[in-house]
Subunit: 126 residues, 4 copies
């Protein structure tokens, strides 16, 4: 279900977090869905349970999930999607401002957007 890249400089728990947030944003994980248990996920991914637990903890701290002792970890029912979108937009604006600073032409950016939205929705290879 999740994909980890050991060569990625980002710590594993952060990769996990990011993917869970992404899945929530994409509607693959919906409010009140239960996440896999720490142990099962750790087992499945071949990583340390502590690592999974850390990801879950941070997600809980940031309000994306809630934990019920003895039952498991569930996706929050609050308006997470808007939150995720908001963060992405903030990130987007930041990058645009950098582009502006470096005198990259506005038209170039807009045409990039057009082509991405029209074309396939494939990921860019890094």
């Amino acid at each position: 279900m999740f994909m980890l890249n050991p060569q990625d400089k980002a710590p594993i728990f952060a990769q996990l977090k990011k993917q869970i947030i992404e899945f929530i944003g994409l509607g693959i994980l919906n409010p009140n869905d239960q996440l896999p248990s720490v142990r099962s996920l750790a087992n499945e991914l071949g990583i340390n349970p502590n690592t999974v637990a850390k990801a879950y903890q941070e997600l809980e701290l940031q309000g994306y999930v809630y934990t019920v002792a003895g039952k498991g970890c569930f996706v929050s029912q609050v308006n997470i999607e808007a939150d995720i979108q908001g963060n992405k937009i903030k990130e987007f604006k930041q990058v645009v401002m950098d582009c502006h600073k470096f005198n990259i032409e506005k038209e170039l950016l807009i045409s990039s957007i057009e082509s991405i939205y029209e074309g396939g929705m494939k990921h860019a290879e890094n």
Copy 2:
């Protein structure tokens, strides 16, 4: 000349690197300009010379500067500016693809660009 943010989670040498690259991209530092000496910059910023040296060394490995032992460290004359712009654009496209994935409307992105490029906004709060 340079500004370090101790609260930033990024390592000091990376902050320094980023700023130097930015200054080159902005034309504040031009090809063959000499960077401050390792010692003087370390002194000025209140950090260890090794930390500055590490930043300089990585910049050299990546081709942004060249260093001459016994003389100092200089901005490369190759087309760095295009390189920096290229990286920013890549980053931009990546973010746009994420936005697309999360169903953020194209028009929203474009209008953000318009306002940033017209308004001449300075910086987003982090």
Copy 3:
């Protein structure tokens, strides 16, 4: 496992780098093999961990190894071997061109090659 020559003018970290690259080229170290830990190797060689770390970091920057914080340093799985051979051949051609420039006879070079490849000579005295 590794051998350092204190009399060699080359810096320690460079000697280490060179040997690791050689071991990869020779198939002694294979893709995804784990390198000795920074601390253990430093201890074994009687040098400072920072020195080993520097070697590892440069190897990573050049793509020969990848390192996972908290786990260790591993040989890359990309086609490093071809890379190493390519570099050696480049070096070879450079030397041949020098020989040509100095009017060294072609036959002399070729016969040297023959004798080395047939004899299975070990090493030249430095």
Copy 4:
């Protein structure tokens, strides 16, 4: 007359030395030819006289030139050319042995030699 590359990692005095040796090997500088004076050469190259002096000193130590106090520095009349060729051949053998170690095919090396000796005598770009 001489060409220095400040970006080259080799120290300037070594670059100078190498070129003088090369010129001797090529017959551009002949036995008992006088080298430019330390000061004039330093002036011409825009470098420190100490740097030139160091190059000359090392050349003298290695027997390539001899210095006459108050008169200048001259190319030795001993059999330098053979010496230079000998060094190159030694270097060549070393590289060939490395190639052998890395399982590079003998035929590849020989055909490289053929093409270099038949083709132009241009330098390889680094």
